[in-house]
Symmetry: C2
Subunit: 695 residues, 2 copies
C-alpha cells in the first residue's frame, strides 16, 4: 500500500483508461487472458485495445504485439494475465513502457508462500519507483460500467452486465464481488464501478473507496472488507465519503473476537478487534450490514432516493397488519412514527370512513372503490409535515394494472413534495419498478426490508448532519511518568485539566490520619506502589474510613499487608482521598490498536465492563458530539439517564471528559494505554477516582 | 370463540367439504359473491357447487336456488357473501338447513360498531346452538390447495395459485394473508392450507393452528397474529404443534409495551404484554419471525428439508469471504461451526491444495478445474460426522450449467447421508431449484438467509427434543394470608418447601437483640407491617448489624421511624434475619396475565430488573428444563455463570425453585401476584430473602 500521502494520484488512468493492453492475451475466450479481451471487444469499450502475446500477430481479430514495450502509442492500463513466474517481469516491462496503471490477475504471491510475498514486495517497489498504480495481484480486476471498461475475467459478466447506476462496489474478495454483481444484475440494481482489490500490493480497499468518494458518477458505495492493514488510510477514506455526503455501506466479516491477546492493561484485554472496527464505523456514519442482501438493499434505496431529511416515517398501508409490522420494525430500528395532524386525519376519514389514520395510515381494501383515494391520501401525508419519508405497502398490487395507477400516484406526490422521501413495498412488475424508480422511489418486495433500508439511511443522514464536530486544539503530548503510580497518574491527568479526585499522597499512616482530617468526612486509603496492580487483592485499599484514628489504623494495616503480601514491591507511601458518591461508576480507557492507533473505550463500571462486556470504542481524537453518541451506545445507558433515586448523570460533562481524553491520546505517542476506573458520573460533572497509565 | 372443550369438532366439514354453497352468488366474477364461485368452478374443485340467489335460476352456468334451505342434498360448507344486514338471517338459514360449516365474508360487525358486535354475538350463539362451525365474519376465507377448495374472494388468487406444498398458513389479517400468498406463489413455495380468521366469532387463530397440527398434509405452520383473547386455546394449539413435531413460525405484531397498566405489584408493572407472549412462544419452541419474508424462509426450509439433528453446521463455499460471513452469522444465531477431522481436511487438501479446510470449507475457484471435487468434498463433509447441516454457497453458479452438476452432487450426497440436512445458497435457475428441492434441499438466494433459516430450525429441533419436561405434581393451592406481611409471606412459601431465609419475627427492639444473638453473625432488621410496601424508603430496614446492642438500637430507630413516617400503618413488630452473601441477587415474580393467567418472571436483581428490564417470562406451570432455559435467556447470565471472585451459581437450584414457584402459581387461583426479591443465588442452592404476596 502506498503511504506517501498522495492517494488517488494516477487512479484516473486506471479506472478511466483511454487504452487497455492485455498481457497474456488469448484467442480462447474462456481463458484468463482471453476473457477480458472478449469483454472489452464485445461489451462496448470505445478506447484502444492492445493484445500482447509473444507468439501470435493477431488475437481475437486484433493486431497483437510480443511485448508491452512494442505496443504503439501511450498505454493507460495494462491487464497482466500471465502465470506468477512471468508476472514480475511483465510489471517491470509495463513500468519501462510508461504504462500508468496495471491490473494483475495472476495469483501465487503473498497468499501462498513467503517467496510469493517477496515477489509481491518487488512489485510494490516497481510501482513506487515508476509511479504506476497496481491493482492486485490475485484479483478479479474491475469494471467501469458507464465507460464499459471490463478489466476483469469474472465469469459472471458472461451471464450479463448489471445496469449502469450510481452504486460503486469495492470488494476485498473476488468471489464475493462476483456474487454481489450477479445479485445486482438479477435485481436490476445499477452500478457505477465494481472493484476487487485482491492482495493489495499497491492499491487497496481504502484508496478505492476514497476514489469513489471523489467520482461524480458514484453516489453510494458498498464495501466488502476482511481486514485492514492501514487504519489511517481507512479513516481518510471514510472521512472522504462523509465529506462528499456519500453513504458507505460495509460488510466487514470476522466478528469473532481476537482470542488470547497480550494485554498490557485492562482496556487492552477488552478490545476485541471487531469492537474497535465497529466503533470506527459508527464514528464515520458507516452502516455495517450483516449480509450482501442488506448491503444492496440500503445502497439501492440511497442510489434511487438519496437520504431522508430525518427519522420520521409515515406508513401508508392497505393492510392493518402489515402497517403494525412496519411500525414495530421502524421503532426497533430507531425511526419514529409520529401521528398525523387532526386535519390530515379528518380529511382522510371524510374520504375513507373506516381508514386508520393516526400512522400507520391504513387506507383499507376500500381504496380500490374510491377513485383518486390513494393519490389524495399520499398527498395529504406528504403535505402534513409529520414525516420525512413515506413507506407505502400496497400488497401484491404492483403486479397488476391497479399497481400502475398507484405508481402514477406515488410519482405525482414525489414530484409535488420532493422533500419527502418515498419507498414502496410490493411485488412489482418490471413496468411498475421502472415507473417508480424513474420517479426516484425505490421498491422492495418485503415491507420490513423497506423499513430497514430507510432506517439505515436515516442514521447516515443524521450522522452526516451532525458531523463537523470539531475535535478542538491538539494538546501537548502526555508523557507517562517513570514508575507511574496512581498519584502520579492522577496528577498527570489533573495537570491536563481533567477532573481528578482531590487526593493526598502521604508517606506514613500518621500522615494519612492528618490528611484525612484535612479532607474531612469519610475517606479511602490506598497503598501506593508502581509494582502493585490490583491493590484490593492484597488488602491495599480500605474504604469509607471516618476519623483520624481509624485512618491511621487502616494505614498501618495496609502498609503491613503490602509488605507481607507483595514482598518485592517498591512502596511509595499511601494515598488518601475523599469517598465520593455519584450517579454511577464508569470506565474510560485508552489503548493503541494495531490498526487504528490510539482508541478510547467507554463503559459503565463494575459488572457492566467485567462480565457483560458492555463497552464501546472510538478512534482518537473525536469531539463532544461523538463522545455523547458513544455514551448513548452502551446498553446500560439507562443507569445514567434514569438512575434510581438520583437525578440523571451529567452526560455533557462525561462527554467532554471523553473527548479531552481522546485528544490527549491522539497527541501522545508515548501513551501505550490508560485505565480510568472508576470515573464517577455526577449529576453535575464527572470525576476520575483512579487511574493507571502505561507508557 | 368456542370454549366448550371440544376443539376441532366439525372442522373437517369446513376445510374438506364435499359440497360448497355460495350464498349471495353472482354472475359477475369480480363481485364478492362471484369470485369464489368462479374460483371453485375453474380451479379444479371436484365437489358439488351450489349457488344461492333469490333472483336467478342459474349463476355462472350452474343451477341456483333462492335459499340455502332449498338446496338439494346435504351441504357441508356455505360461503356467505351478502351484506351485513342479511348475514345473520343467512347464517340462521344455514343452521336450519343443517349446513356444517360457514365462511362469512360479510363485514360490518364487531370491527365497526356496538350494534355490529351484538349481531356478531348472535352469530356466535347460532353456531353454538346448531353445532355448525363459523369462519369470520369479516374474513377473506380459506383455501385447501390440494382439494382445490377456494372458499375465498381474495383477488390474489386471480393472478395464480401457489403450488401445493406442506406449509399451512393462518392469518388474523386477510390483507396480510393475501400478500403472503402472493409471495409464496412468486417464490414457488408450496402451501397446504391458507386460512384467514377475520373477526373470529367462532373459529379462531388457535383452533385453526391446532387443526393444521392434526392435518397429515401439513408439516409446517406459519401464523400471523395480532392478538389473542384465549390464552388457554393458544397454549393448546402450540402444544399440539409441539406434540406433532410441526414447526410453527409466528409473526406477532404489536411489540410496543402496553403503556400505563394498573400495577398491583412490581412484577405486574414490568410485564409488557409482548414480553409475556415472547416467553410463551419460547416455552413452546415457536419461532417468532420479524417479517413475512423470514416467516416464509424458515417455513420453506422446514417444508423441504425437515429439521436438523442439532446445531452443528458445516459451511461449504467457493468464496472465502462468503464463508466467513456465514460463519459469523451462524455463531451469532446460536449455531456452532465445528472443525472437521484432520482426516477429512487432509483428503480435501490432497484434492484441492489451496482449499481452506477447517470449516468453512473453502473449496476456492479451483473447484471448477478438478472434476468431481465438489461431490467428493461435500461427501467428505457429510461423512465426517462433525455437522448436522451443510450449507453450501456456490455463488451465482445455480444460474448456469455448472450449477446443474452441483445440484446433482448435492442430491447425491443428500441421498447417501440422509441424516445430514443440506441447504444451498445461490442464484438458482428454475431447473436448479427443481432439482435440489426434489432432493430435499432448499435453496436461498442469500447465504445469510440460508444460515438464519437453519438456525431457526435448529432451535425448534432442540426444543422439540428437550420437551416432555414434566411439570411434576400439582400442589395444593396457596392461600395468601390476610394482611400479608413479609414474615407471613416467607412462612407461607417455606411451608411449600421453598428455601426461605431463616428469619425471626419479634415484637420489640429488645427481642430483636435477643434474636440476633441466637442467630449469630451480622443480621438485617426490618419493620413488619401489612401497610408499608417500600420499607427502605421510610428507614424501615437496617443492614449488616453485629451485636445485641447494635441490633436493639437499630430496632428502636426503625420502630420510631415507622411511627413517624408511616403514621397510619399497622405495625407488627420487627423481623431479624442473618445477612446472607451469595453469587448474585435475583428476582422471581408471579402475576396473572390477562391472556395467559399465571405467569412467572425471572431476572437478575437490582439495576438489571429496575433500569435495564432484563427480565423473562413463562406461563405457569413449567418444568426444570424450561426454567433453566429461562434463566439462560437473561442478557446478564454471565453474572451467574462467570461471577467475579466466586464459583458459578447453582443454576439447577434456581431452576428447581422457579419450577416450584410456577407449579404453585398455576395451582393457586387466589394468588394475584408475588414478588420474591431478592432471591439469593448461591454456589450451592438458592434462598428467598424477601417476599411479597398479593391475594
Amino acid at each position: 500500500m502506498l503511504d506517501d500521502g498522495k492517494p488517488l494520484s494516477g487512479l484516473d488512468a486506471v479506472f478511466r483508461p483511454r487504452s487497455v493492453a492485455v498481457i497474456g492475451a488469448s484467442d480462447t475466450e474462456t481463458k484468463i487472458g482471453g476473457t477480458p479481451l472478449s469483454y472489452l471487444r464485445t461489451l462496448g469499450y470505445t478506447g484502444r485495445i492492445i493484445p500482447i502475446n509473444p507468439k501470435a500477430p493477431e488475437i481475437q481479430g486484433l493486431p497483437a504485439y510480443p511485448n508491452i514495450k512494442d505496443a504503439p502509442g501511450p498505454v493507460d492500463l495494462a491487464i497482466i494475465a500471465v502465470p506468477a513466474s512471468l508476472a514480475v517481469q511483465a510489471l517491470q516491462d509495463c513500468a519501462d513502457a510508461g504504462v500508468k496503471g496495471v491490473v494483475m490477475f495472476s495469483s501465487g504471491f503473498a497468499e501462498v508462500s513467503e517467496e510469493g510475498a517477496a515477489n509481491q514486495a518487488r512489485m510494490h517497489e516497481i510501482a513506487r519507483a515508476s509511479g504506476l498504480r497496481l491493482m492486485g495481484p490475485n484479483c478479479l480486476g474491475f469494471m467501469n460500467i458507464e465507460e464499459r471498461v471490463f478489466a476483469t475475467f469474472a465469469p459472471v459478466v458472461g451471464a450479463g452486465v448489471a445496469p449502469k447506476g450510481r452504486i460503486g462496489l469495492v470488494s476485498q474478495s473476488g468471489a464475493f464481488g462476483g456474487f454481489a454483481f450477479s445479485v445486482a444484475r438479477e435485481r436490476g440494481i445499477g452500478l457505477s464501478y465494481w472493484i476487487t482489490t485482491g492482495n493489495e500490493a499497491d492499491l487497496g480497499f481504502s484508496e478505492s473507496v476514497e476514489w469513489l468518494a471523489s467520482d461524480p458518477g458514484t453516489d453510494v458505495i458498498v464495501g466488502y472488507m476482511e481486514g485492514c492493514r492501514d487504519g489511517d488510510g481507512l479513516r481518510r477514506a471514510l472521512d472522504a465519503c462523509r465529506r462528499a455526503g456519500k453513504p458507505l455501506i460495509v460488510c466487514k466479516v470476522g466478528k469473532t473476537e481476537a482470542g488470547a491477546k497480550a494485554a498490557a492493561s485492562h482496556t487492552a484485554a477488552l478490545a476485541g478487534e471487531d469492537a474497535v472496527f465497529d466503533g470506527v464505523f459508527r464514528q464515520y456514519n458507516v452502516v455495517r450490514a450483516d449480509s450482501i442482501e442488506e448491503c444492496l438493499d440500503i445502497a439501492y434505496a440511497a442510489s434511487i432516493a438519496g437520504l431522508p431529511k430525518g427519522p420520521r416515517v409515515g406508513l401508508y398501508t392497505v393492510s392493518g397488519g402489515a402497517g403494525v409490522l412496519m411500525a414495530d420494525m421502524a421503532e426497533a430500528r430507531g425511526l419514529t412514527v409520529p401521528e398525523f395532524s387532526r386535519e390530515t386525519q379528518d380529511k382522510v376519514l371524510a374520504m375513507v370512513p373506516f381508514a386508520g389514520t393516526r400512522n400507520p395510515l391504513d387506507i383499507t381494501g376500500q381504496v380500490s372503490q374510491i377513485p383518486g383515494a390513494s393519490r389524495t391520501a399520499l398527498g395529504l401525508m406528504a403535505a402534513d409535515g409529520a414525516c420525512d419519508t413515506i413507506v407505502s405497502f400496497i400488497s401484491a398490487a404492483g403486479l397488476g394494472p391497479a399497481g400502475m395507477e398507484m405508481a402514477g400516484d406515488i410519482a405525482h406526490v414525489r414530484a409535488a413534495r420532493p422533500e419527502v422521501m418515498q419507498v414502496v413495498a410490493t411485488l412489482p412488475s418490471p413496468a411498475f419498478r421502472k415507473a417508480v424508480e424513474a420517479a426516484g422511489v425505490p421498491v422492495f418486495e418485503d415491507p420490513n426490508r423497506a423499513v430497514n433500508a430507510v432506517a439505515a439511511l436515516a442514521r447516515i443522514a443524521r450522522g452526516f448532519a451532525a458531523s463537523g464536530d470539531g475535535t478542538g486544539d491538539t494538546p501537548a503530548p502526555l508523557t507517562v511518568p517513570a514508575d507511574c503510580t496512581e498519584p502520579l497518574a492522577l496528577a498527570a491527568l489533573g495537570e491536563r485539566g481533567l477532573p481528578v479526585v482531590d487526593f493526598r499522597h502521604v508517606r506514613t499512616a500518621a500522615e494519612a490520619g492528618q490528611a484525612a482530617e484535612e479532607i474531612g468526612g469519610p475517606v479511602v486509603v490506598k497503598i501506593v506502589s508502581p509494582d502493585i496492580g490490583h491493590k484490593s487483592d492484597i488488602g491495599g485499599v480500605e474504604l469509607n474510613l471516618t476519623g483520624r484514628a481509624a485512618v491511621e489504623a487502616a494505614g498501618d494495616r495496609i502498609l503491613t499487608a503490602a509488605r507481607t503480601k507483595a514482598p518485592g514491591a517498591r512502596l511509595d507511601g499511601l494515598m488518601v482521598a475523599p469517598m465520593r458518591r455519584g450517579v454511577a461508576e464508569c470506565v474510560i480507557g485508552v489503548q493503541r490498536d494495531p490498526t487504528f492507533g490510539p482508541v478510547v473505550m467507554f463503559g459503565l463500571g463494575g459488572v457492566h465492563v467485567e462480565a457483560l462486556r458492555d463497552v464501546v470504542f472510538r478512534a482518537a481524537p473525536f469531539g463532544e458530539a461523538e463522545a455523547k453518541a458513544m455514551i448513548h451506545q452502551v446498553r446500560a445507558i439507562r443507569l445514567l439517564t434514569h438512575p434510581r433515586g438520583s437525578d440523571p448523570a451529567d452526560i455533557d460533562a462525561l462527554a467532554s471528559l471523553l473527548a479531552q481524553v481522546s485528544r490527549i491520546a491522539a497527541a501522545s505517542p508515548g501513551l501505550e494505554s490508560a485505565d480510568m476506573n472508576p470515573v464517577l458520573a455526577l449529576t453535575d460533572g464527572a470525576v476520575i477516582l483512579d487511574a493507571l497509565l502505561i507508557g
